[in-house]
Symmetry: C2
Subunit: 372 residues, 2 copies
């Protein structure tokens, strides 16, 4: 079976690495000119002139990023199965639609309002109570197209700086920590859930994911599974879905979903019986799902901007290095390291030891290192 992947970055690369042992081959289709997948054919197509060629050469299609045009996915879906379905893309590209769907399915979100002018932004900030965060309703990602309002008076400046005609305004969530759940749904509706991860961001970029999330109460995992299950079934979704959440004193609050394998699931390559990548390929190909049970405890550390002293990390008996074969650049994800351990105590020490070889890596700060 030949799988077409829209996008040719590191997620596509890791999908291919997981798919070859299942006798899949891969064709990557990218609309920009910087593929990093490196295994399989790559079609670079800025103008869409090779799309038919791409479609004709593959059996099924998936994607590794959610900011591709929905009409491209819909056009492909008329000829070949596209998993996940184009509707999942559509929902992810529109924060209002996403939050509305969450609400309909009983998935808690921060309180939110829509603003379509500086005045309505100010009114929303007043109604919700500051601080609030205003985000462009479409097109924004990685913290772009956003502004924090400490008071309603900042509305005019925020409106101008974001420069979009429709914003979503969210009340700040007082959270204990950021977490995520990754789940997978097969063509026949079979479901599997990974244990949740605790995620630490720095300057808007994921730095650490610890899984299974330490000190997680069982009912919290169950809540997250119930939420993501509702999404998977509602969307008649096939493949891996990620739901990013805040853990608060009142329970989980959903932040956003990603209709794909996710950085907070890279730990599954060595840290789970079946990786998120293999499970996505299994689902997209119509196979039964693999076991999502963890193998020990893991922490994924992203390699950002600079590679650091990889040779020293390769010497660590508990570290697994994954490089994406990309050039160094500020803020760029160049690879990740998964640290394995049998206990969280051991994990903390190992992660700190590993992180010292990664320049610019923020101090490991998690539920595990918090005092008291």
């Amino acid at each position: 079976m030949r799988i077409g992947v829209l996008g040719a970055g590191q997620l596509g690369r890791m999908l291919a690495l997981a798919g070859y042992p299942l006798a899949k081959t891969f064709v990557f289709y990218d609309m920009s000119g910087s593929p990093s997948a490196g295994l399989g054919e790559v079609i670079i197509d800025r103008d869409g002139q090779y799309l038919d060629d791409f479609i004709s050469r593959v059996d099924r299609v998936t994607y590794e990023f959610e900011h591709l045009p929905v009409d491209v996915a819909e056009r492909i879906a008329k000829e070949k199965p596209v998993h996940p379905c184009p509707r999942a893309l559509q929902v992810c590209q529109n924060r209002e639609m996403e939050k509305t769907l969450f609400g309909e399915l009983g998935i808690p979100t921060p309180e939110w309002k829509i603003a379509d002018s500086a005045e309505s932004l100010q009114a929303a900030a007043e109604a919700l109570g500051c601080p609030v965060v205003a985000k462009s309703n479409t097109e924004g990602y990685d913290g772009k197209g956003q502004a924090v309002l400490r008071s309603p008076e900042e509305a005019a400046a925020a409106w101008q700086s974001i420069g979009h005609s429709r914003l979503i305004v969210e009340k700040f969530v007082d959270f204990r920590r950021e977490v995520s759940i990754i789940a997978v749904r097969a063509e026949d509706g079979e479901l599997a859930f990974y244990p949740m991860a605790e995620n630490a961001h720095h300057e808007g970029i994921l730095r650490y994911s610890i899984a299974p999330a330490p000190k997680l109460e069982k009912h919290v995992q169950e809540d997250a599974e119930r939420y993501i299950k509702a999404l998977l079934n509602e969307l008649d979704y096939v493949g891996v879905l990620t739901l990013e959440l805040f853990e608060t004193a009142e329970g989980l609050v959903a932040n956003e979903m990603a209709p794909r394998v996710h950085n907070s699931g890279h730990w599954t390559i060595e840290g789970a019986m079946t990786s998120q990548f293999e499970n996505h390929i299994r689902a997209v190909s119509g196979h039964p799902l693999g076991n999502t049970a963890p193998r020990g405890v893991s922490c994924m550390i992203n390699i950002i901007a600079e590679h650091g002293d990889i040779e020293r990390i390769l010497e660590l008996p508990y570290a697994h290095v994954h490089l994406y074969n990309k050039g160094e650049r500020p803020g760029r994800k160049l690879g990740h390291v998964t640290v394995l351990a049998d206990s969280y105590e051991e994990l903390v020490w190992r992660v700190k030891n590993c992180a010292q070889f990664l320049p610019g890596c923020p101090e490991f700060d998690s539920t595990l290192t918090a005092r008291g």
Copy 2:
């Protein structure tokens, strides 16, 4: 770093799968026309006319089979580093040279003699005591070019059937089981040893490898490590080396070595902290070695001739499927399944459950299932 691989079968494929996460890329060079590697460029070159092109495009060279012409390896070694060294190839292609080296290094072998005529074959059989096995000294592998002599009188017929001018004649070894040890040596001489595997063959083909080998006494592992260490250091070897042995009442007896990653080490992909494939790539590339410690207990089951009911195997929560994307053919290795468990008791049950979906798979018969 771009690594050139001589040979493009499943071992090359699994080397590439392990090498991409270390930012390596691959070019396969094959003298036959049936590559199965499928990830990376493949140069098919029956006449050697593209060898210079191959050499010019890679930084380092390794190989996935030991029956390639030594002069090709030597020619490449004049321009680019070749790991393992061509001398290792030479030794493996000549049973007399191999057994002589074993003897010099204090590695026990079956008693053996050379025969260069039907008469000297008969004399060797008489001197060693039948049964003996006669093998062509060069060019034989996978049980070809061999004959068993139950009595010296069978010498003339055996000589004729083998049809080689120089044979090695070995006394039969009364062994408890077949085992192997896989080790790796880095460019700086660093060494790492995997726990030994117990191997079960059927019709001359490996069917099951259990690792760590059950009921193995510590001193047996130590003996094997001493033997393979002597070989690695003597050959100034870089990469993974495999030594196949018989376990007897008197200790280990060496059968043969393979200067490469080995089928009896496929369990290391999920069953060890670092796979044999990654460790070979690390060594060949000049990196430090990875941790060879096992993760639980494993059994590798080869998929031979027919794929069987792979969908059912994919449903098993403890099985890892590796397909080589090859067509079905009698005796052909099409893939393997690694079964993981936390105990040998659990492993036996799981292996039996898995093997039922593989047609022609012989009954699981090992130290674990032996009575008494």
